[in-house]
Each structure stands twice: as structure tokens, then as C-alpha cells.
Amino acid sequence: MIALLLILIPLIFGFSSFAIKSDGAAKVWAVTASVAGLVLAIVAACAKTDASLLTVNYTWLPVLGSRFALSMDGMSKMLVLLTALSMCLIFLSTFKNNYKNARSFYALMMLTQAGMTGVFLAADLLLFYFFWELALIPAYFLCSMWGGERRIAVTFKFFVYTFLGSLLMLVGVLYLNYLSPAHSFALKDIYDLKLSAPQQSFAFILFFIAFAIKMPLFPFHTWQPDTYEVSDTAITMMLSGVMVKMGLFAVIRWLVPVFPDAVNQFGHIIVVLSVISLLYASFIALQQDDLKRLIAYSSIAHIGLMSAAIFVRNEVGLQGVMVQMFNHGITVIGLWMVADAVERTTGTRKFSELGGLAQRSPSLTALLVVLAFANISLPLTNSFIGEFLMFNGLFHYNIWVTAIALISIILAAAYTLRMVQKVFYGTASVASQNAAAVSKPMIATLAVVCILVIVLGVYPKPLIELTQQVTGALAAKTIF
């Protein structure tokens, strides 16, 4: 029941938000919804496995063999929690921002949330596909309506790109359905499929491209920096904090267990691709001149590592990915908040025009430094555990790959600190001198994020315990 509510709340609040007349009320409405969602998500995360509470299974498309089935395991719980938390953080941190046509803005945000939550909960392949798209459409409108100059073209590229990916996945869905003797989409039945190697390879490629675009993985990533750059930062937070996790989640939930042979066959290529992604993005980030683009590339790098850790197929790496999915979400949202604050107070994101902001807003600087170090996964920040485990997983796979991948931690330090240096240190530029004060909710939310970063960095046990069972089950099924 909770599973259904988790989707329904943002859905209902979202649709009703269109009807709200005043922008301020819409804002409050959205915050209410997100808080309600967060509470529910926490309840769900804390709930012991109680089938009736966490699963839903209704008849939906009998003619096609699809059911409206939702279920929550540890990974779902964690990601739903991340979604709900992120939305809360986003709405709160941007509380002082005024969006034109705010009711639509909040409505679309909540609809996207509903879609993403659905993706994490779906226990039926077709339903999963539905939610996958449902998350995309409002995001498209969001990015196109609120953001920078080139947003229409850029967002469109993003949309077509991801949509193409999903369509290929649709072919894969169809193919699986065709091969499934019961013509069922249920997660369990899909897992039980016995596919021949060529069948697996074919379907695997179709699914993988979709997920690789979503994650995004080199060389399918070019939509991402552009989109992150031009869309409004609140939206970017959602895209980068939660939506890219959809790709990783999907790989873990729908790809690896279903096509073990294909994963075995293509795993090596994908690991290499992921490591390339990791290093390539890091290299590019090294000379970025735009705050948002830098964070975007950094995000690509992190995702590359996660993808690599999935495809090395061992439990340690997988556990790392699980933890990191949550933690990366938190960290990157924090970074975007900083980017938003910087852009809103100074009016620019270019390093060449920034500098010395530390004198103007020391609190922001302090919080940024925490997040920056979380971004380079310093121990005792939340990202460390995940990266540690992932690199460890990678190490099990191959020491040289690990060594090469580890170069990224150097590069990460270089570009992240360069960002800190260029934006906050040095002598104050004109833009910095004239910077407005950072809004109180922003600072407060950022502080919450930083506290989360530290707390989860010191005590990651809840996250590990939440996902341990899933990891174990998956490992038992597919290892590997």
C-alpha cells in the first residue's frame, strides 16, 4: 500500500498543482507533498519486509500479460528514499527562488518524481517501461521551459536521445515478452527466463543502450553536460541526483540478472567503456570553465565508476554501487545547490568571471568545501565507502584496470579543487564583489546535506544493511 502511495502522492499533488492559482501556494503545496513523500519513504525504508505493506499487484493489461505490480526491496527502498529526500531538498533549497509559472513548475517536478519512484518500484517490465517514460516527459517540459538560452535545442537533443534509447529498450521488452513462454512481464518470470546466448546478446544490447544513455556512459553522454548546463539548477538537481540513478538501477534490476551470459560476454567491453568514461570525463572536467558543466562531467565520471563496478560482477563492487547510488545523489545535489547559489548570487557560472567568493559568502564556501571533498570521496564523507567498495570490486576484477581507474581520484582532486579555487579563492572578481546574499533556506538545506554527507560517511551501516540482502541475492543469482 505504501508503495502505491509513494507514487500516488506526487502524482495527485502534481496534477492538482496545475490548478493552484497562486505561485506561493504552489510552492507550499509542493513542499508539503515532498515532506509527505519523505515521511512515507522513511516509513517504507524502516519497514520490515511485510508483503502487504510494500507490494501491490493489480490486474492491469490482461491482454498483454502485464500487471500493475510494485514491490520494494532494499534497493528500491533506498532509491525511493533518495528520490523523496532529493525532492525535499530541492524544494526547500529553492524555496526563495521565484519561477515563472511556478505551479506548472512544481507540478511537473512532482510528476517526474512520481515517474522516477515508479521506476524504482515496478516489478513488471512493461510497467517499468511506462514509468521510465513517465519520468522523462515531465522532465522534458521542465528542462525546456525553465533554463538558459539554448535550452530548447539542448533539451530536445536530450529528449530524443533518451527516447531513442527507451525505444530500443522497448524492442528488448517485446523480444523478452515474445521469448517468455507465459508471455508475462512479471519480474519473477523475467528472471526465470532461460535464454540462449544469441538471444541474450541481442536483447542485452538493446537494453544496455537505453540504460547507457540514461546513465550516461561514454560515448552516449553528450546530452548530459549540455542539458545540465542549460536547465534550471533545481531541475538539474533532480536529473543528476535521481534520474541518472534510474539507469544504474535498471542495469542492476533488469539487465544483469536477466542476461547473465551476455553480461559475461560483454562485461569486459563495458567495464573498459566505463573506465574510459570515468577517465575521459575527468580529463574534460579538468579544464572546464563552467561550474555546471564541471559538475556534470564529474557526475559522468562517477557514474562511469559505478557502471564499471556493476559489470565487474562481484558482490563487493555491487554493494559499493548500491551505497554510492544514494550517496552520489546526496553529494551531487549539494554541489548543484552550491552552483545554484553561486549563479543566483553572482549571475554567472564562468570561472573566468568568478573568484574570491569566499570573502563574500564564507558559509557557502565552507559548505562547498565539504561537498567538494565529498565529491573527491574523502574518507568520512559519504562517497568514500561506495568508492572504496567499488574500487575494491574492480580490484577483484583486474588490478591494472583498477590502477588506471584510480587515476581518476587524482584527476577528481585536481578538477574539484580547481573549481573551489577558481570560484571561491583568489581575489574577489567584480561579480563576486557584487554578489547578493545567499538565501537562508539554501544555506540551511546545504547544511543539512553536509550533515548527511558526514553522518553517512562516518556511519554508513544503515545504507549497507538496507541493500545487503539485495546485493547478496543478486550475487547469488548471477555471480559471477
Partner: protein, 646 residues
């Protein structure tokens, strides 16, 4: 024993208070909180020390930091002989430097002052975690933590872009070492599924007590080399030493605490901690010895021609660290730790003294503009002189004992190492007294304005100087070699449990007492001779001509920075720019946009078929009819063709 957690926690609390309330606390409150926290830690460290003394080492486990099916890494502290020594050094020297800082940094505004103390406290916290951690991961946590604090403190004056660049450089270079450290950790954990050191003498399965036997020789070599890479990064060894001199951008007490006394010795701590692994990997040990020695000599040569007071000290630090590595490499673990300790005393003293000078001269750091400070700053002068004597290795100052222990061990390993090492210590004596001479002797060469303000520093500065001077002078007696007195090497005895396994695995070659006497005698004589020469030469030097030839190369640090810049930094940046501006735009995104453009282009072309002429339309239709018939009649071929492709 349950209070152990307070040792790191107190500085952390200090950090939090100073950090969060930096805008509301007065400077005095800040310094009291900052220093007080460290003092309490120190007291607790002393308590811990005596606990260890009375009942041996112990491990306190708090919670599972990482708990996955394959392994558990606890968040645990291990207080044993080695870590308790380091605790004392860190908190003790740390406290002194905090006190010193409260005066030294007095010109800062309260919020920056508080920030400074917060960082300093955070540093102590991290350093304590580093040495108290009961496993390699805990060490890594501290390892990175100190790196962070070093970054923050080097870039403390963030308005200066060069400083923040230096901070970044320090951090990034450390990261290169971390790469090795992490790989080593993975290596260990994937082999034995634990990272715990294990208490010396305990039989519980842990890496350093029992499980190390599971590694093959090659694996040990790999692990130790990787660990050494980490140590080289943190402890500024070739090839990763260049960050340390640049790190002098930070406030001088920071240089004293972090970049001389404590953090940079983390590498030594790490190797000393995992000594058994290194002992069992003779190949690595050799490399360490060679690199250590090479670093010692290289840094010493550079220090000869530096004119920045802090730079000289920085290179001196690098050089001394090289000695410590030499000691580790030849199996003189105690000697290395001993040198860490004495070095902490006299190098902290030197830096603080230098700070005092700089303070007095209003941020003048060039020794060519100093001179004759002897009469203006007596306390500073005396303590500085003592420290110089200590570092030069003049008996009976502390440096003499520790350095000679290393050199003698080196001799036991290979006389060649000793000779080179001795040459290095002669260089040390020379540049230290060059520094001393130029700074304190002769006549003041600075501006009149500076001269009018010359004064001895306040007591918050001088008292730590005095305490450290005492320690520098007397610290050596903790490790009096056997030559002088039997069983007088207290440190050796104290640390013996930690290194017991190593000694079992590879018994230390003891040099015959007679040989040792000769070595000591010769080295002492030579050093004194060099000191005298340097004293003479630099006490009255007034004109400084442009360097040329080798001197110029030395002044420019062998052009290593330039080499790195040309060989690594620039290519990386160029590669990055290439990726960003060319590859990403033209190739990756170009392909994506190319598809879009291609669709557009085909759209324009295909619609030309739709040219409006009915005749053409029908013609196309008729042709299509023909084509379709051809397809039907040749379908077998076509189908097999498609099957081949798909």
C-alpha cells in the same frame, strides 16, 4: 581506557565549535578552545601512554565502519607502543604550536582566526585518527584527513591565488600516493579479507600479526611498493616531494606542525606500522633505502642555495624525511621512529623560530634581507641555534642520536649508503648554519623601517620555543645507543614489541662497537668542521651575487618543477583541452549532431522526390512495381542476405 575516543574527539569538538561559531567567538575564546582541546588530548595521551606501559597495547572497537558479507572493517582504535609515541608527539607538539599560533596569528580577524584554529584542530583530529586507527582503512581515513587539512591550511590565505594553487598541488600530489595506498589496501583485503593490524604479540588473525604469512614474496613486494608509493606522497619523497616546499605558503605554525613535525611523518608511521611486510620484502626495502637516501641528498643540495627561510627548512625537512626512509629501508625501524620524534622537536622549533623571525620582520622571508638578529631576539636566537645543532647532528643534541642510529644501521647494511648519508648530513650542517649565519649573525641587512620594529616575540611564542628547545636538546637521551650504555635505548625497548616480528624475520646486523665508535667520531668531527666553516663564511656575508652554473641549478631546485610541468602537467592539460574542445565537440558530440544533421539533410533531399509532378509520381510508382516484382522473384537471395546481416 574508555576515554581513548576522547583523544581525537576533543580536537574534533574544538573544530566544530570554532568552525560553527567562528563569527561569534572572540579570539581569546577561540585560542583557549583550540589549544585547550589539544591540551586535554595530550593529557589523555599521556594517560594512554601509561596504560600501554602498564598493560600493553589495546584495541577499542566502536562500530562497524564497513560491514559487508565479504569482510568487516571496524571503526576501531589501536593504542600500542608505536601509536602512543606518535600520540604524544602529535598532541604535545601540536599543543605547543597551538599556543604559539594564538599569538602568531593575532593579526587575523576573529572569524579567520577561528577558522585557522578550527582547521588546526581538525588536523590534529585527523592525525590522531591516522595513528590511532586499528586497521589500514582507519589509517587511510586519517591519511586523507590530514591531506585535507594540509590543503585547507596551505590555502589558508585564500585570497592569494598562488597559495591556493600550492594547496591544490599538495593535495593532488598526495593523491598520487593515495592511489598506491588504496591499491595496497585492496591487495591486502582481497587476499586476507581483513585490514586489522592486530596487537603486537596477539594471536588473533590480523594482517600484521598472523595473516601476513599468506602473502607470497611477489605479492609482498607489490603491496609494499604500493604502500611506499603512498608513503612517498605523504612524506615528500622522490618523485613526489615537490609539493612540500610549495606548501610553505601556509602560515608558519602550520608548516611547523604539519609540514615538518607530524603529517609528513605519516609515511614513516605507515611503514613502521607495517614493518613486517617490508622486512619480508627485501627488494622494496632496498628501493626505499635508495630513494630515501637520494631524496636526502637531492633536497640537501637544493637547500644549499635557497634564500627563503622557510624554503630552506622545507628542503631540510624533505632531506630529513629521506633519512628516515633510509632508516626504514635498512631495517632500523626504531631509528626511523626515533628520528621522527627528534625531528618533530627540532624541526618544529626551527619553523617556529623562523616564524618568530618572520613575525618580527613583518613577513620578510628572504634571508638575504636579514642578519644580525641575534641581539634583537635572544630567545629565538638561542633556541634556533640549539635546533641547528640538533639537526646538524652535533652530540649530544637529539639529532645526533637519531641520525647516527640510522647511519650506523645503513653502514651495517652497506658502507656505501653510510658514506653518502654522511655526505648528506654534512650538507645539512652546512646549509643549516648558512641559514643560521645569514639570519642571526652579522649585521641587519633589511630596511630601516623593519629595523625599527625589531623586537623579541611575545611569550606565547617564546615559551613554546623554549620547551621545544629543551626537548631538542634532551630528546636524544631517549635513545642512547648501546655503544654508550647498555639498555639505555629506552625507545628501542619500548617499541620492541611492535618490531619484534621483523627482528625475528631479519635480524638486524649490528656493527661492531669499535667500528661504531669510529663512525661516530669521524662524523662528529666532520660535522663540526663544516659548521665552523659555514659559521665563518656566512656570519659576515653582505653581498649576494647572482648565482651561476651549478649554483643556479640548485637555486632553481634542479628544475624539477619545470620538468614536471613540462612532462606531466602541461601534457595533461593539453590532453584535457583536446578532449574538451576537439574530441568531445567534434567526435563524440559531432557524431550525435551529425546524425541529426544527416536526418535533416536526407529530409531535404528526399522531399525533392516529391517534386509536384504527377508524371514523375506515376513513373516512380511504376518503377517501384517493377522493383517489387524483382524482389519477389529474387527473394531467396535477398532473405538470405538479410539473414547474413542480422
Amino acid at each position: 581506557m574508555n576515554l581513548v575516543y576522547l583523544i581525537p574527539l576533543l580536537p574534533f569538538i574544538g573544530f566544530l565549535i570554532n568552525g560553527v561559531f567562528r563569527n561569534s567567538l572572540s579570539k581569546q575564546a577561540t585560542s583557549i578552545i583550540g589549544s585547550g582541546a589539544i591540551l586535554l588530548s595530550f593529557i589523555l595521551s599521556v594517560v594512554a601512554f601509561f596504560q600501554v606501559k602498564s598493560s600493553g597495547g589495546f584495541i577499542v572497537s566502536y562500530f562497524d565502519f564497513i560491514n559487508i558479507r565479504e569482510y568487516v572493517i571496524p571503526f576501531a582504535f589501536q593504542i600500542d607502543q608505536l601509536s602512543s609515541i606518535f600520540l604524544l608527539i602529535i598532541t604535545g607538539v601540536g599543543f605547543l604550536i597551538h599556543v604559539y599560533s594564538s599569538s602568531y596569528m593575532h593579526d587575523e580577524t576573529p572569524d579567520h582566526f577561528a577558522r585557522y584554529f578550527a582547521f588546526l584542530n581538525l588536523f590534529v583530529f585527523s592525525m590522531l585518527i591516522l595513528v590511532m586507527g586499528a586497521n589500514f582503512l582507519m589509517m587511510f581515513i586519517g591519511w586523507e584527513g590530514v591531506g585535507l587539512c594540509s590543503y585547507l591550511l596551505i590555502g589558508y590565505w585564500f585570497k592569494n591565488e598562488n597559495y591556493s594553487y600550492a594547496a591544490k598541488k599538495a593535495f593532488v600530489m598526495n593523491r598520487i600516493g593515495d592511489l598506491g595506498f588504496l591499491l595496497a589496501i585492496f591487495y591486502i583485503i582481497s587476499k586476507v579479507s581483513t585490514l586489522n593490524y592486530g596487537l603486537p604479540g596477539s594471536a588473533e588473525p590480523a594482517v600484521l600479526t598472523t595473516l601476513y604469512t599468506q602473502f607470497s614474496g611477489a605479492e609482498l613486494t607489490a603491496i609494499t611498493l604500493l604502500l611506499f608509493l603512498g608513503a612517498a606522497g605523504k612524506s615528500a619523497q622522490i618523485p613526489l616531494y615537490t609539493w612540500l616546499p610549495d606548501a610553505m605558503a601556509g602560515p608558519t605554525p602550520v608548516s611547523a606542525l604539519i609540514h615538518a613535525a607530524t603529517m609528513v611523518t605519516a609515511g614513516i608511521y605507515m611503514i613502521a606500522r607495517s614493518n613486517i611486510l617490508f622486512t619480508l620484502a627485501p627488494y622494496t626495502s632496498q628501493i626505499i633505502a635508495i630513494i630515501g637516501l637520494a631524496t636526502a641528498i637531492l633536497a640537501a643540495t637544493i637547500a644549499l642555495k635557497q634564500n627563503d627561510i622557510k624554503k630552506v627548512l622545507a628542503y631540510s625537512t624533505v632531506s630529513q624525511l629521506g633519512y628516515m626512509f633510509l632508516g626504514l629501508g635498512v631495517g632500523a625501524y626504531t631509528g626511523a621512529v626515533f628520528h621522527v620524534m627528534t625531528h618533530a622537536f627540532f624541526k618544529a622549533l626551527l619553523f617556529l623560530g623562523a616564524g618568530s623571525v618572520i613575525h618580527a620582520l613583518h613577513n620578510e622571508q628572504d634571508i638575504r634581507n636579514m642578519g644580525g638578529l641575534k641581539k634583537y631576539m635572544p630567545v629565538t636566537h638561542i633556541s634556533f641555534l640549539l635546533a641547528c645543532l640538533a639537526i646538524a647532528g652535533v652530540p649530544p643534541f637529539s639529532g645526533f642520536f637519531s641520525k647516527d642510529e640510522i647511519l650506523v644501521a645503513a653502514y651495517a647494511s652497506s658502507p656505501l649508503l653510510y658514506y653518502i648519508g654522511l655526505f648528506g648530513s654534512l650538507l645539512t650542517a652546512f646549509y643549516m648554519f648558512r641559514l643560521y649565519g645569514l639570519t642571526f649573525l652579522g649585521n641587519f641587512r633589511g630596511t630601516e623601517q623593519q629595523k625599527s620594529h625589531l623586537h623579541e616575540s611575545p611569550s606565547a611564542i617564546t615559551i613554546p620555543l623554549i620547551i621545544l628547545a629543551v626537548l631538542s636538546v634532551a630528546g636524544g637521551f631517549l635513545g642512547v645507543p648501546e655503544v654508550f650504555a647498555k639498555n639505555a635505548h629506552l625507545l628501542e625497548n619500548w617499541l620492541h614489541p611492535v618490531f619484534a616480528k621483523s627482528y625475528e624475520a631479519a635480524p638486524v646486523h649490528h656493527v661492531a662497537h669499535s667500528t661504531e665508535w669510529i663512525l661516530l667520531g669521524v662524523s662528529t668531527l666532520l660535522i663540526i668542521a663544516v659548521i665552523v666553516y659555514a659559521w665563518k663564511r656566512f656570519s659576515s656575508q653582505t653581498n649576494f651575487k647572482q648565482n651561476s652554473g651549478l649554483a643556479l641549478v640548485l637555486e632553481n631546485k634542479w628544475y624539477v618543477d619545470e620538468l614536471y610541468d613540462a612532462a606531466i602537467v602541461k601534457p595533461v592539460n593539453r590532453l584535457s583541452l583536446f578532449f574538451k574542445n576537439v574530441f568531445e565537440k567534434s567526435v563524440v558530440d559531432g557524431a550525435v549532431n551529425g546524425v541529426g544533421k544527416f536526418v535533416h539533410y536526407s529530409s531535404r533531399q528526399i522531399r525533392l522526390i516529391q517534386n509536384g509532378s504527377t508524371g514523375n509520381y506515376i513513373l516512380f510508382m511504376v518503377l517501384s512495381v517493377v522493383v517489387i516484382f524483382l524482389v519477389i522473384w529474387n527473394q531467396t537471395d535477398i532473405v538470405s542476405f538479410f539473414k547474413k546481416i542480422f
